[in-house]
Symmetry: D2
């Protein structure tokens, strides 16, 4: 059976992930993501109303024209998890393919919301939920799609595996190797090792190289949680305001914040549009068991009303968890820093960033400004209480060891960023151009012909 | 009562700490440390045989000549904990003073060993043990010395407090604010807050500014422990060699390593001269309850014999914890990296650095070389599994809040390094030259006259 | 005669410089500057209409209330050169003092423009021009004010020296030691050495510590000029667009750009409001001899008209020198990068930044965005073609050697930034608190009483 | 005619360069270099006595076994210039090939010395001198070898061009684009542009990617010279010791040092083994016209004798130019720093590093130690007076523009280091794997078959 891989997006950057695998006549697409930074560099761009071609020109969504060179039928579009760089282009591209979108329940729900917000295209692909551990048949020639449970900075993430007669194709984006996650199950390394050994073994492994140049092992979410606990417990006796911020989609982290807020005698409340969106969705789908009275508010008006209530009842009884961990100009924490909300910061109030600045000068500048404005109001800043959601080098090493793939394809980075992964592979006996395929957006790699 | 403070050493650098406080006619000396880097920059210097004056000229030990300007009698020499930069000059300077050395039991034991190794001077000062929480009277005019329990990267650390009729002098070196340490009691913040409120309050606080330019809060040792657990547990299935290194004097960390080694089915063994020294001392003094069969070997011969045994019986059953976390040329791990020991590293063997590189180009160069040599043998390196033993800015903020001192004196850094502390104090209403005293080695500060 | 120094602004930051020296009953004020970054952190602040007290509260201008503690009459306000951090608060503070403003002709002209733009206060102090090398008498007790020629990144900069019966007070802000400047005379080291030896010598030297932590020697403007020449000459054969940007007030640099533009067969044209202002002023005052047909346009309309003309006549014949070297959102180059001007960038067009990014995250973020937008249009970026206008450590060393001052006061930095200067002084035999006075905003230092 | 390229060494690192080009049956080898850092990481390795295979195993010299897969006869070995990473393996590998070594006169002389120092192998290949601008015929099928003059940090550097019926192969290592070098002719861009247009144009360009991730344009040596002049002239009045160090093989820089030493009234003298070697060779071959009385001393004894003479006659009359710019433990400057030579440093003496630290932790550590030891003796350090010898991105851009090659092969870097070059090429319309060939050591690339 011919096996061909189209590396469509995310092979020259982090963002706008998209990869297609053809097994004989059947094609499966993994991820359709958005590169938000290519949008934000421009002023006043509203993606909801834009045409795909303009977004492709901007480098914001994958240029999927190479799909016409793949001779086969798309049988499924499979986003691995709900982050924008993996689902954000579905509303712009999926309608071109006559295929269902298959994903885990939480991801499907986020895809649904994405499609509902779209104002240019009507996207009517079927949405099919499949859980980690489950499989489905693709086409009529013995190809099977399996979801293996992985751990990432969002819940319900999986690595899809396409079992073909020629061996398995493991699509490894995005994950860290977490044996003690805070929500959900540990990464299913047992299954990966089985896949490495069974049948034809692994024909090809496509790897998440986000942290390919970072040494060591990405710590478990449990470590971030202990760090966060240590920080919040240390504030137990403080009787002023405490505010926290984190990635809205990072439900485990939000859960920890909510839990520790209660431990130190404060009522947590989630504020900001995306904070409400992700946590609300996770709660409705029973991924998390928040306290029944946990407030979540997204609209500016209800947020400000909540802030007023907090000011009236006493800041010392609340712990708002807000958007704005990167100092985004319009996020809630930045508004607080600029004094644009009813929440007043006093000398000694604590602001906890359970996030790391994404290392890019624009973010760094914005975050710096937010922190400076917070400090000018007397706030005390606690930052970097975080662990990455992506494998570092030793995770990559362990995955190679478990899967023993014939071919590897580094993804989710530019050339500089993935260089460490090539070095690792070569130290393990692979060789670039022979079985390590450093690809670019829009390339086709024929593995079996 | 006149109160005067002599900032003798460690006010222009990290290392060779020494401070004297005169209350009326009674003088207490806090710390007598060694600045090891001033020794190591020279080739082949043997401090054991050197005269104090030469070591003073080298900037290696405090220049205590200013003591002749302090009119009073030295009643006690009080090292706060057993690190070399706090006790390393006792064998060169203490014999000049007719006063006992007063310290906690673990520190006293290390001082004793220090004195026994000295080959130039005979040091015959009395050694008096006093526990955290206890007090003793100094002189005849109502001055009292109290030990408050603190948490640091070595066990049995205290902050001495000199209670005088004019208020308390709190000598704050070295600590982090740890509410959940792995060994020993949490920092006694309750007592610090009492001292801040009782009687005359705090006249002066001398602060450990090592991390004064670092944001946020130093995590608890518990966080490093969870990180370390995560790393070692992830290696549970590995059936080759695993080697770890950390600060020899960091008994909590060594304890965690020993414990996790056993958890993953390996026999821990401590190797290297200082590894044996510190852990052996801690065990003899009952600070730690190591497994009864834990091997500790210091002499090169017995270390190599142990390595041979490990190679014979199977690397997969052992976890050597060795010296060499900074890549020191003569330490055990560096010898292993150079292939100079019987322990053979194989492809995939793990080396765990539970330490951070001390950020100075010499260390960075040596550590880089050690890691490169290890990698050339196929070892996989895990580094930076560590938390600092010193307060960051938010710890400084909390100490000021607890003690409410009239005066503060930043210590344990150079001017650049302590600048963040001055900024913090000024944001809290203090003012440089009025009540924040940025001092230099050899200065006298008269607080009450 | 009593000598007292008030360190009013710029002793805890770079920006809002202000220092007063009292000699007996006569007071001279050096500099009254604005800290622009404290303004820009807020959205939509218009300083022209603001009251001094609000600007003081913002940390934008010096808090001159300490002046009431100086018992004497202000005889002169002496800005050293025309940069905003030295003259930008004159329009807000000078009217409080019944004293003339004394400065070199170029500086006086910029002060005049500053005052004319002021919309809140009427500033009616006399403006007195005095050239480098000249002196004037201050009061009736033998005090004299001398201007010594120095070299900086703006023309007509001086260091004022106040000769008193107790020795000279040398106010050393801002300068580099340039023996081969492009415009104007070399720094007058001969005069500094004389002042160091004559009469009572130098009682006090107030030093520009901007680069106190930088090693070596700041290169001459001649070196930047050679670098710039090398860059522009290398483009001689390019037949598309070339654009350059630099500090508008850096007349020597603008001169070099103009000259090299002509050398490679292009017509230079200066564009942007502050570009027109500074270059126009320098030309009117005969500090520079630009080509008679050199266009300078400040208003957006005339700039855009010029761009249109350039596009019509051929980009290959022009070299626009524009504002925007830091990526400032509203500057000309940023507008070009956003495609908001009639000038169209093509693949291969060159953009030359004859400036260094001011190392602060906000600037770095903005500059990064500007460069990214330029690159997205195909532009090739040449950056960092620059030398600093401030002394590095070896310049400080030479100044100490020349002046042999009894006292030194580091200025123009925060504590961290000036730390290298204190270290240097102490290596030369000074001692902090004895004759090195690390001060803070609002302090008084009594040198002779 | 078949054209094939073997990328033998220097495609995964900087160092041990070696590339072979086969045109039909004729093979030309470009460079045979040594990666010194792979030697120095080990203690006490003497390469002179080592076998090639051991050096290959160490990664110190190219693994040329792939040459057996190249079906053709080696007609010439062509080192491009005299740096060790380009000629250092000739004494270990050249004897395996029955072919002459063809190079420019200065390079040939250095190769000869290299061969004479070899103690393991007898190397008896013919040594043929060919000047820049000249050509020679290779084999009998219309292949020609041309030397194009380039500019680098060593004199007499060329880029060899192999003219084949299929187009030219331009081997672009190592160069910067210097239109105003201090010694020798400017880079021959006119010839490169001709080659780009004539006949079949350029089939393949192999590029020096050392600085591929650096923005802008590498300045001319003229800029470094002006910088150096500025530094040395600023010391004209100093009447103590001045010492300078630079790359021994950097004859232009040494020439500038010699010239400026005389300008400021000091007698230059060159000290250290490799200082004598390179400058002596350059002088003997008439590449430079040193003052007739310029002393050059290599042996430690004669160096120390010279130092004694300088101390006797007065340091203020001399300017020793010594080895040791990277703080190498056994170099002359390091010996001076450790007080191991008769030259005594006094307070205020100047040490000029006309070199940049090679950014690798080992170098950085050694250089830091050397500087610290110098400072401890009171020396004032001037560093970083240097420009790189390699093209930055805009030089790469210009070369692509001049040559318009069909294929490009990035070399002289690891994958991370060359990533910027791939990005540049792709922005110019090339595409990785199609016409940008990112290769690895030991690969064959068939361009025409």
């Amino acid at each position: 059976m011919e096996i061909e891989i189209a590396t469509i997006g995310g092979y020259e950057e982090v963002g706008r992930q998209m990869t297609a695998v053809r097994a004989g006549n059947d094609v499966v697409i993994f991820d359709m993501g958005l590169n938000l930074s290519q949008v934000l560099i421009h002023d006043n761009v509203e993606t909801e109303r834009m045409h795909s071609l303009d977004l492709i020109d901007m480098g914001a969504i994958p240029d999927d024209r190479v799909m016409s060179d793949l001779e086969g039928d798309v049988q499924a579009i499979v986003p691995t998890h709900g982050h924008l760089d993996h689902i954000g282009a579905i509303s712009k591209l999926a309608h071109r393919y006559n295929a269902p979108i298959v994903a885990t329940p939480f991801t499907i729900e986020l895809v649904k919301q994405q499609i509902e917000g779209e104002q240019k295209f009507g996207v009517e692909n079927d949405l099919i939920k499949m859980d980690a551990g489950d499989s489905m048949t693709i086409g009529d020639h013995g190809v099977e799609l399996e979801f293996v449970n992985v751990t990432h900075s969002i819940i319900d993430a999986i690595n899809p595996v396409l079992h073909t007669p020629e061996g398995a194709i493991v699509y490894g984006l995005d994950k860290r190797m977490d044996h003690s996650p805070v929500l959900g199950d540990p990464i299913d390394m047992k299954r990966f090792r089985e896949i490495g050994r069974e049948d034809e073994g692994v024909l090809c492994y496509i790897e998440d190289c986000t942290n390919a140049n970072k040494k060591g092992r990405t710590p478990s979410e449990r470590v971030a949680r202990e760090h966060l606990r240590d920080v919040l417990y240390s504030m137990e006796d403080y009787d002023g305001g405490i505010v926290a911020t984190t990635f809205s989609s990072h439900i485990s982290r939000v859960t920890s914040l909510v839990e520790f807020a209660e431990d130190i005698g404060r009522q947590p409340v989630l504020l900001g549009r995306s904070m409400e969106k992700y946590s609300g969705t996770a709660e409705r789908l029973d991924f998390v068991d928040f306290p029944s009275d946990l407030g979540m508010f997204g609209h500016r008006k209800s947020v400000d009303r909540t802030f007023k209530r907090i000011m009236n009842e006493g800041k010392e009884d609340y712990l708002p968890v807000v958007t704005g961990h990167q100092g985004e100009p319009r996020a809630m924490l930045t508004r607080m820093a600029r004094g644009e909300t009813p929440y007043e910061l006093d000398d000694g109030d604590k602001v906890v960033f359970s996030a790391r600045v994404i290392p890019e000068p624009t973010n760094e500048g914005q975050r710096y400004q937010a922190e400076k404005l917070l400090s000018m109001q007397g706030a005390r800043v606690y930052d970097d209480i975080h662990v990455s959601g992506h494998l570092n080098q030793e995770g990559h090493y362990e995955m190679l060891d478990a899967l023993q793939p014939q071919h590897v394809i580094p993804a989710h980075q530019d050339l500089k960023g993935l260089s460490g992964y090539v070095n690792l592979c070569e130290s393990e006996g692979y060789k670039m151009d022979r079985d390590v395929h450093v690809s670019r957006n829009g390339n086709l790699i024929q593995l079996v012909d």
